[in-house]
């Protein structure tokens, strides 16, 4: 294969994604592309998202046009050096497709890789992606989320790291009924989860409430947590949109919940009906509302945050980055003020409370940096 000819393939965003539709190409044939530029828009059953150029080059051929739906991993375009002959391109495509077809037939046997581990009387559901790398990442989602929140992050970071993402108690496919929602109880769960998986060191990536749990883990187990990436963490100030948490718990219809979820994003267009339906399915299970209420009561008192983690954060000795969407409407980005200067702060523009899903490439690059520093 020519070294100046590279495939662009349909990405896999999350476990359940089997195919994607190309909604828009932002480039045309012969046009130059730059690494990180928005190349195209892809629609899956759950989300619409943009895909960035992996490298610099020139678009040589489209193998899938707007409106086409193709399986994950299929060739959708080729880029490389301009002037590459048609013959070389066609040869490349033929070779790629014959390899891909044999891969595709193998994958049929692939089972859903959700696993469960028992911690105390709770079932904890998780997904791991192990490539016998020497560093481990564990993702901890926030209030009302689940491990699928990391769909744009886990697969990408699995190229260099062993990655784990879990469903907190009361969430996703873990046990729904919880009695204790305190940070110390939940950080205990995280520690025991790592013990069960024989992880002697871990890099934690936490979002919002999950970031609070990560801070607690690191402050009480300094030697074992190697780095922290905290996305819009709780505990650094007292402002929070308390009504979001209340309304998230009580919203029982698609319309009401959609209005709430829109507060999470800078660009509310990201939310489609399937995404709202998935969350409704979770919320309608017996016990979920009570568990969410318990967690909310841990986080909020009188419309203000009641957990203060500034002391813990000030004392951290491990590489730590705080990532915040500039337009975060749930917890304001101003909470990054007066943070200990040893801590990296990254503010992402055009971004709400869900930086990891709204700007995944940027967040993944930041996570890589934190872990390698």
């Amino acid at each position: 294969m020519s070294k100046d000819l590279h495939p662009i393939t349909m990405p896999k965003w999350g476990l359940s994604m089997k195919e994607g539709s190309i909604s828009k190409w932002n480039k045309s044939i012969g046009e130059n592309i730059k690494k990180g530029e928005m190349l195209l828009e892809i629609e899956t059953e759950k989300v619409v998202n943009e895909m960035e150029s992996p490298e610099d080059g020139t678009i040589l051929k489209f193998c899938a046009k707007e409106g086409d739906t193709v399986p994950v991993g299929s060739l959708i375009a080729l880029y490389g050096e301009s002037g590459t002959s048609e013959e070389v391109i066609n040869e490349f495509i033929e070779k790629f497709n014959s390899n891909f077809e044999s891969e595709l037939s193998k994958e049929v046997e692939e089972e859903e890789n959700n696993e469960k581990v028992k911690i105390g009387d709770l079932d904890i559901n998780y997904i791991k992606n192990l490539n016998s790398k020497d560093k481990n990442i564990l993702f901890i989602h926030g209030f009302g989320g689940d491990l699928n929140n990391w769909m744009f992050n886990q697969d990408d970071l699995s190229k260099e790291f062993n990655t784990y993402a879990l469903d907190l108690p009361g969430h996703g496919l873990s046990s729904k009924t919880i009695k204790d929602a305190s940070l110390s109880f939940l950080s205990e769960i995280i520690i025991k989860f790592c013990e069960e998986n024989s992880l002697s060191d871990i890099n934690l990536v936490g979002h919002s409430f999950g970031a609070g749990i990560a801070i607690k883990c690191a402050s009480e187990n300094n030697d074992f947590v190697k780095s922290l990436n905290l996305i819009s963490p709780i505990g650094l100030g007292d402002e929070i949109d308390a009504s979001y948490l209340d309304n998230f718990i009580i919203s029982d219809s698609r319309r009401d919940l959609k209005n709430e979820l829109e507060k999470l994003y800078f660009d509310p267009e990201i939310i489609n009906r399937d995404l709202v339906n998935e969350i409704l399915k979770f919320k309608r299970i017996d016990g979920v509302s009570e568990s969410l209420q318990l967690i909310k009561n841990e986080i909020i008192n009188n419309e203000k945050q009641k957990i203060n983690l500034r002391n813990e954060v000030d004392k951290l000795l491990i590489p730590t980055t705080i990532i915040w969407g500039k337009q975060d409407a749930i917890i304001p980005q101003s909470h990054t003020e007066k943070i200990n200067e040893k801590i990296n702060i990254k503010i992402i523009d055009d971004c709400g409370h869900m930086a990891h899903t709204e700007h995944p490439n940027e967040v993944n690059a930041i996570i890589r940096n934190t872990i390698s520093s």
Binding site: R254, N277, K281, R284
Partner: protein, 333 residues
């Protein structure tokens, strides 16, 4: 989460609600079955086995076989509901509603209203409906428009196993009379169903496809037909919105208007008789509220105005099918 059939999903909802609340009882013809025989504990459980296995958990006190009299079943269940139980009564085939309709129409449906809100009637009536089983004119009708017509009763038409469990759980927990309609052809349909209990609120239709070119509205079994036609059209480059009504009373008017305005071209697929059915009702709703958004006349795919034929070729010709829905769609695309 695991793969369960529509039948298993209904059975699981009954089992879980009966475990949770001792006031939940099941009443009907042969819902336990096998009385006095050796195989009693393993009896069939209803004519199509939906209530099988409940007897061994709850005994004959709570899984109650009745004589063949629909009037008595509905009268007994309504009275029990009014005085503190939460009965799930079975009307084996909806076609038999004629025998007991006074109990439902004039008694159960009116209690809350006529007693000034002081009486609640937490009654669920499970019943089988629909064609395709070669069961002839008296065992193949839909009839849900007749219940939908009457204020005071809620009408539920689940189209898949996930909805069947969540909506039946809601029906049992609901404090009003609910007619829960199970299409015979769907019992073996399987899908992902959580093992935990959950309930789906009434009055929220479900979007099963989203598109720009045409909107299909279905209920019960016809949702599957709409989905298949949408998938066929997608291969031809046309995208469709499909709306599953889930409950006919209450009716999710907002979602119906939202779905029809999304594309301006609407095909409604309803298996019930064509006069005064759900398709005509929704069609009127759309015309009255968002006429300006329509780009073509509304299409209704329904059977002709005749009894359901017994002859298999005639029954196939009679029922809404993918071919009929596709050709209706192509007329306005």
């Amino acid at each position: 989460m695991s793969l369960k059939t529509y039948r298993e999903a209904i059975n699981e909802a009954l089992l879980q609600e009966m475990k949770k609340d001792e006031n939940v009882v099941v009443i009907g013809e042969d819902v336990a079955g096998g009385a006095g025989t050796n195989g009693e504990q393993d009896a069939w459980g209803g004519v199509l086995g939906v209530t099988k296995g409940l007897l061994k958990h709850f005994g004959r006190e709570r899984v109650i076989d009745t004589p063949i009299t629909e009037t008595a079943i509905m009268g007994m269940a309504s009275g029990a509901a009014l005085t503190g139980l939460r009965p799930v009564a079975e009307l084996m085939f909806v076609d038999f509603m004629g025998v007991c309709f006074d109990q439902i129409l004039n008694q159960t449906a009116k209690f809350r209203y006529m007693f000034g809100g002081k009486a609640v009637t937490p009654l669920t009536i499970r019943t089988m409906y629909g064609g395709g089983l070669r069961a002839a004119s008296q065992h193949s009708q839909c009839l849900y428009p007749m219940f939908t017509h009457v204020p005071g009763i809620k009408v539920v038409v689940p189209s898949n196993p996930y909805d069947a469990k969540g909506l039946l759980t809601q029906s049992i927990r609901d404090n009003d009379p609910v007619i829960f309609m199970e299409h015979k052809n769907l019992y073996d349909l399987s899908g992902d169903v959580p093992d935990e209990s959950y309930s789906i609120p009434f009055g929220e239709a479900n979007f099963t496809r989203e598109g720009k070119d045409i909107t299909f509205i279905g209920m019960g079994q016809t949702v599957d037909i709409c989905n298949k036609v949408a998938d066929t059209l997608k291969k031809e480059g046309k995208t469709s919105t499909v709306l599953d009504l889930r409950t006919l009373s209450p009716l999710d008017e907002d979602s119906i208007l939202e779905a029809s305005e999304e594309t301006g071209k609407v095909v409604i697929v309803d298996e019930s008789y064509p006069r005064c059915n759900i398709a005509t009702d929704i069609s009127a709703l759309i015309c009255q509220n968002s006429f300006d958004s329509l780009k073509a006349g509304i299409k209704m795919v329904t059977p002709p105005h005749t009894p359901v034929p017994f002859s298999p070729p005639l029954e196939d010709l009679y029922l809404p099918s993918e071919e009929k829905v596709l050709s209706a769609a192509k007329e306005i695309l």
